[in-house]
């Protein structure tokens, strides 16, 4: 099967980006280099094409109740123009996907889902949300993320609506480069920033406008490589790594997302039972001060005995040492616990540390 392309694919290719396969899509992994792009986002801002992500609109009088049923967070707390991080859950308490739920209007919600789960989410939502209209709008949008300390200056300078006062996890409609867009103060890098939903056929024009606005200020395109190191430093989970259908939010440090008091929902009984029983593993942050970087799949040892596994790992460009997220037995999850990462048959000393690894100042 051929790889899918976002509306910006030709732009990436013309710019000389290195392209790789990701979840069935041919996407830019880097433009100038992952480390340079990572630093650019931390220090100024970077521009990402994340159009491969899916958008599902949930409409109708039953939309709120249906979303309350399948998602973890309390959707009734959203006012128009606000968004929340949430999870689609299985009846057993596993995670179908992690999503952002935007309330566009009283009976209109937009759910932004992971590229790798687009088809699965859609059939899951159609099966469990029969009281609402579930409409796949993924192909209508190009989605740009502009992330970094000066992202608001860059995007705000282009929008016909002031953005500086828009709170985190809120969205506004704005015209950018002559195109109506939904502009949301959300992201996946640990920085302030914006995600711009624009009509697919306007994607290249909006992208060009943002790149142009950033070009004099050391702001340019960034690829999925930097997106991954940025999100890992910020300890934001990635579906397929930290999250899957066999993993519960209580194991994944996402208990804060689960509203147990919003009324019954698909996974409530299972999660209550798990809460009482206790979990058999917990997600932790791991730091490797010296030695080979931890990588996905490496075993975590305690006193020479396996106690868990790394789900995402890299050398942190900001901190200059190895960092990882991984699951360990609860007895090994306490902060400061001395562990080892098994790297090519050797033990590299590691430690359980507080998350996130990186937190922006101010």
């Amino acid at each position: 099967m051929g790889l899918r392309h976002t509306p910006l694919f030709d732009v990436h290719r013309a710019a000389g980006a290195r392209l790789v396969e990701f979840a069935g899509w041919e996407m830019p992994v880097q433009y100038q280099g992952i480390l340079a792009e990572h630093a650019m986002v931390r220090e100024r801002a970077g521009i990402f094409d994340v159009s491969h992500m899916g958008q599902v609109e949930v409409r109708g009088a039953g939309a709120l109740a249906a979303l309350q049923w399948v998602t973890a967070n309390d959707v009734s707390r959203l006012a128009d123009g606000f968004a929340q991080y949430s999870l689609l859950l299985t009846p057993g308490g596993g995670i179908v996907d992690d999503v952002i739920v935007y309330r566009l209007a009283a009976e209109r919600y937009l759910v932004c889902v992971n590229a790798s789960n687009r088809d699965g989410d859609l059939s899951f939502m159609r099966e469990h949300m029969r009281a609402a209209d579930v409409v796949d709008r993924s192909d209508e949008f190009a989605l740009l993320a502009v992330q970094g300390p000066i992202a608001t200056e860059i995007v705000g300078g282009l929008a016909d609506t002031p953005l500086a006062g828009v709170p985190s996890f809120a969205l506004v409609e704005a015209e950018i480069a002559g195109h109506r867009c939904i502009v949301a103060r959300t992201g996946y890098t640990g920085e302030d920033g914006w995600e711009i939903y624009c009509p697919a056929d306007a994607g290249a024009a909006v992208w060009a406008a943002v790149v142009d606005a950033g070009s004099g200020r050391g702001v340019g395109p960034a690829g999925l490589g930097a997106r991954d190191t940025l999100r890992l430093e910020a300890a934001l989970p990635l579906y397929g790594h930290e999250l899957d259908c066999e993993t519960s939010p209580l194991e994944a440090r996402l208990g804060w997302v689960v509203s147990m008091d919003k009324g019954d929902f698909i996974a409530r009984a299972a999660l209550l039972a798990q809460k009482e029983r206790g979990v058999s593993r917990k997600l932790v942050g791991i730091e490797v001060a010296v030695g080979a970087p931890p990588r996905q799949g490496y075993r975590l040892l305690r006193d020479g005995i396996a106690t868990g596994e790394v789900t995402s790992g890299t050398r942190s460009p900001t901190l200059g040492k190895g960092i990882a997220l991984g699951y360990v037995e609860p007895k090994s999850a306490r902060l400061g616990t001395e562990l080892a990462v098994e790297v090519r048959g050797r033990e590299v000393p590691a430690r359980v540390v507080p998350l996130p690894f990186y937190r922006r100042s101010g």
Binding site: L35, A292, P293, R315
Partner: protein, 129 residues
Amino acid sequence: MEFPDDLKYSREHEWVLVEGNVATVGISSFAEEQLGDVVFVELPTVGDTVAKDDAMGVIESVKAVSDVYAPLSGTVTEVNDDLPDNTELVNDDPYGDGWMVKIEIADLSELEDLMEPGEYQHFVAESDD
């Protein structure tokens, strides 16, 4: 990408500079570009015996882990001690300060298995498709 004329190249993208019976070894600019930003390097120890085509070290970029293979059999006489703390040298100067090890060549006839620059350029063009 450049492939200096005075070097020989392996199919695993190491370059070799031969001076008498000593080979200086690094990775080619093709390998370095493919890997992306190098963030970790593990080299053999001086005195190690290495056999041609065996993994003798590890090089890691942000996203990938890759073995470094011995292009020739012999004994490691010197390693680039600056490299582990300055891994960017592999990207910035792959044929210079980014060198990795020096090997005292055990069998000079193994040099015949290495590629000349033109041949390597052709090899790279094919593997890059």
